[in-house]
């Protein structure tokens, strides 16, 4: 990767983070999560603006099926494909992570975006469900730029009933919740977290800072 491949917009010094707004959830938190590290953040469904962004965030809360339906209704599925294809740093959060996979047990008839291999499955019922708590990250991928400065065992905030099962080499971090839960994946400049960096205190700040740095550099 180099600056030549993804030149910043002319005359635009501040790298822009676009948060995909398709009418779902509390986007204000996600926006604040990146503003606190100095980013200019737009909540938007505007394909033109998103195409100019240096980094793109796909949030998501609630039901996998409704999120996919709304994402497609806003035509942001196509926008997501094109920015991911172009290698623009991209971060899926929570259901925004789950949507990157092929599908989910939560909505068996609904296709996911399928840019990551694997499916999303219901957590076992041996512990309270949803997992709504802080949990420790077990870092599986050394040297992930988004985990820069974040120690193994750091605590982050989760709230979810479903989790992705994917190929081990894509798994950057897990947490233990009755089973081993995929907490974060990395595939090139495509990242996704089951936890909420924007609600994870100081660890979340480091994570947001790292994503903003990657968006600024690439």
């Amino acid at each position: 990767m180099s600056c030549e491949e993804f030149p910043l917009r002319e005359g635009n010094d501040a790298p822009l983070i676009a948060i995909l707004d398709y009418g779902i959830g509390n986007l204000r938190s996600a926006q604040k999560g990146f503003e606190r590290v100095g980013a200019e953040v737009h909540l938007t469904s505007d394909a033109g603006l998103i195409a100019e962004a240096s980094g793109v965030v796909l949030p998501g809360v609630g039901h996998f099926g409704s999120c996919m339906r709304e994402l497609r209704a806003a035509k942001l599925d196509e926008v997501a494909y094109s920015v991911i294809e172009a290698g623009v740093p991209f971060l899926g959060i929570c259901v925004g992570m789950q949507m990157l996979f092929e599908g989910s047990e939560e909505a068996p008839g609904t296709r996911g975006l399928g840019v990551l291999p694997g499916r999303v499955r219901l957590l076992p019922n041996s512990l309270p469900r949803p997992q709504m708590q802080w949990n420790r990250l077990d870092i599986r991928l050394q040297g992930s730029p988004l985990l820069d400065g974040i120690e193994d065992g750091s605590w982050v905030y989760f709230v979810h009933s479903y989790a992705a099962e994917t190929e081990p080499h894509l798994v950057a971090a897990t947490c233990e919740y009755g089973v081993e839960v995929t907490a974060m994946v990395e595939q090139g400049t495509l990242w996704a977290t089951q936890f909420h960096p924007e609600k994870s205190g100081e660890v979340g700040r480091s994570f947001a800072h790292n994503f903003y740095r990657e968006a600024s550099v690439l």
Partner: protein, 255 residues
């Protein structure tokens, strides 16, 4: 691994924090945003704001509070009190609240729980239950700040709202609230055993040992307290140290 959350709760009246003893004789303990930011810095896992403002004209005040808190606090926060409709919830969530808590309105219209879960996802729907003992280890659901007995059985009601899509239960013992004698552990245990969703124990904390027994004996997923934190009797850090010392898994207090 289950970790137990420590949740300071701020009762808010017209934008100011208060905490009553048995809901009477309120005292002013300061600015909610400042308090919440301090709890965040101190290692609180979440913060709950309960709006006890009597007048419904003041709905904008609490939305404004959500907006200000979202500017300052980077842990999840819940706003409850006076949420009667999907629109009320939407305003709070859009302002930056992570969850909304419903109580009387859910009893009056149980379908509201399902509507909220459909609109925003279960993860942001907390149902608060105010419980009062009937003796013999049964409890009734009370509404309107503990004034009205609904004759609903607490354990039955907990099961019903879980089925309707609640993401979490905030369980307050009206017998314990404000007494500082500790949680009603039988109540906590009864509800924890009845549902799959997380249960927050509330009502009656007067010392750190009560938080420990809520987690260990009550089996609560989260322990909520108000006055012991507001008036500086104990810090969130001390609460976490007490839980850790008792072998309860918690996110350790921040350095």
């Amino acid at each position: 691994m289950k970790s137990v959350r420590v949740i300071p709760c701020l009762d808010v009246d017209q934008g100011r924090v208060v905490k009553g003893v048995n809901f009477v004789g309120l005292r002013d303990a300061g600015d909610p945003v400042e308090l919440a930011a301090r709890y965040d810095a101190d290692g609180a896992d979440e913060v709950v704001f309960l709006d006890i403002t009597a007048s419904s004209d003041d709905r904008e005040t609490i939305v404004e509070l959500a907006r200000k808190v979202a500017e300052e606090v980077y842990i999840p926060f819940t706003i409850g009190g006076g949420v009667r409709s999907v629109d009320d919830a939407r305003r709070l969530l859009r302002a930056g609240a992570d969850k909304v808590s419903v109580n009387s309105a859910a009893v009056a219209h149980p379908s509201l729980v399902a509507e909220l879960a459909d609109a925003f996802g279960s993860q942001c729907v907390v149902v608060a239950i105010d419980a009062k003992s009937n003796g013999n280890k049964t409890w009734n659901v009370y509404v309107n700040g503990g004034r009205n007995d609904t004759a609903l059985d607490v354990v039955d009601w907990a099961g019903e709202i879980a089925n309707l899509g609640a993401g979490e239960i905030l369980l307050t013992s009206m017998d314990g609230d404000g007494t500082r004698n500790g949680y009603d552990l039988d109540l906590t245990q009864a509800v924890v055993n009845a549902v799959q969703i997380p249960v927050i124990a509330s009502g009656g904390v007067g010392e750190l040992a009560h938080l420990v027994s809520g987690a260990v004996d009550g089996g609560a997923d989260a322990v909520l307290a108000a006055s012991i934190f507001h008036f500086g009797k104990h810090t969130v850090r001390e609460a976490k140290e007490a839980l850790l010392a008792a072998g309860v898994t918690v996110r350790p207090p921040t350095e």
